[in-house]
């Protein structure tokens, strides 16, 4: 997928993450801040990159403000933000396809 416009998903509540995606020319520019950076920063980064790769997003600026979200929440927020950026988040989601 291609990040077509700025979009956001998630909240800053505890156990959640707020993910913002913005279009960019080339490559993924990832910015992460987290309340559990020292112990989980590496895993958060890996999860976000894996999710983007699964969605075949190859370029964009992705910002994650993490408040201790579990991996399943991180994935959900990244996916939702990307689908929202293409205005495709409301229906026809490929559950079990690229969303897994």
């Amino acid at each position: 997928m291609q990040i077509e416009k700025n979009a956001m998903a998630g909240t800053l509540e505890s156990s959640d993450a707020m993910v913002t995606v913005e279009p960019a020319e080339t490559g993924i520019e990832l910015e992460i801040s987290s309340s559990v950076m020292n112990q989980y920063g590496r895993q958060i980064k890996a999860t976000v990159l894996e999710t983007l790769e699964r969605l075949e997003v190859t370029s964009g600026k992705v910002t994650v403000v993490d408040k201790g979200a579990l991996d399943c929440t991180l994935k959900a927020r990244v996916e939702c933000a990307v689908f929202r950026s293409c205005e495709k988040s409301a229906a026809g989601i490929p559950w079990g396809g690229v969303i897994k």
């Binding site: 509540e13 156990s15 579990l70 399943c72 929440t73 994935k75 959900a76 989601i93 079990g96």
Partner: protein, 304 residues
């Protein structure tokens, strides 16, 4: 990915706890409180502009979190909204045990949902018929059509009333005696029993009124409800206590079931337990009591 066991159409459902599907902190381990079913809510708890996000959360929760023996039901948005079809797709794809149809008013509503569920089961390679349904009656029309709703599909395991909306329609308000809901509860219970499915009462919203809550739960049990919808885990314990059978009932049920099994093995249809004539018609009730007793920690045998 968590593979949930095939849902049981008839199982113990004393407590169904509502949880906002959009709140990661809530849904990650809602099962620890020991309710029989959790109800992940895509409807009223989720803001209109977050319906899409809630579905992504729900999908990953369903496929990642091990809810163990707790049943997982999803309340989908009403058929008059643009959301319900995608709600059904995500429920089926994620492997939810059942779907609660909000604002159900007719058998046709059930059939409409059923058709979408079946289509989704085929789309996602889920065994057709796996996903169970229940209906929430929220209007006088829904209550009047209770029987046709209850018997509209083999997937239907139960019916529930939603007090808030119903009272609005009736232009009444909550009354501690239950008089405001008496007819609706009664009619719905009869319809459910006539159709052979379960029946659940509405939520009790005043979390500080412990006495009022207990009185309502006792009335629910006396009227014949199978369980109650809850909004807070702290309500679970009381419902389980009130719905627990007495020790005498458990002993009686155990005696009946074991006598029946013995008699059946010898080809006898009618037998006596403690001097009373008993036949096969008593057995489903006795087995239900034993299952309940087992869930309440009152029975440890292996008859059920």
């Amino acid at each position: 990915m968590i593979k949930r066991p095939t849902p049981e159409r008839f199982r113990l459902r004393r407590t169904m706890m509502f949880m906002n599907a959009q709140k990661p902190g809530l849904i990650k381990d809602a099962y620890i409180y020991g309710c029989d079913s959790i109800m992940l809510d895509l409807e009223d708890a989720v803001a209109e502009n977050q319906k899409d996000a809630a579905r992504f959360s729900l999908y990953h929760a369903l496929t990642t979190i091990d809810y163990g023996k707790t049943e997982v039901i999803v309340r989908i948005n009403g058929l008059d909204t643009p959301h319900w079809q995608e709600d059904i797709r995500v429920c089926v794809a994620g492997g939810a045990d059942g779907i609660r149809i909000a604002k159900c008013e007719s058998a046709q509503d059930v059939k409409t949902v059923e058709a979408a569920v079946e289509a989704a089961e085929k789309e996602f390679g889920v065994e057709v018929g796996r996903t169970l349904l229940m209906a929430a009656l929220e209007s006088p029309k829904g209550v009047l059509n209770a029987y046709e709703i209850c018997s509209a599909s083999d997937r239907m395991f139960g019916v529930a009333i939603s007090g808030g909306d119903f009272r609005k329609c009736m232009q009444t308000k909550f009354d501690p005696s239950g008089i405001d809901m008496l007819v609706a509860r009664g009619q719905m219970l009869m319809a459910a029993r006539a159709a052979g499915i379960q029946c659940f009462d509405t939520v009790f919203t005043d979390l500080d009124d412990n006495e009022g809550f207990e009185a309502e739960v006792r009335q629910n049990k006396a009227m014949g409800f199978d369980g109650k919808s809850l909004i807070n885990p702290k309500q679970i314990r009381l419902v389980h206590e009130v719905f627990a059978p007495t020790e005498k009932e458990v002993l009686q049920a155990e005696a009946m079931v074991s006598a029946f099994r013995e008699a059946a093995a010898q080809g006898i249809g009618v037998f006596t337990v403690n001097g009373k004539m008993v036949d096969v018609a008593f057995i489903p009730g006795a087995e239900r009591t034993l299952k309940l007793a087992k869930a309440c920690g009152m029975y440890e045998g292996d008859l059920v």
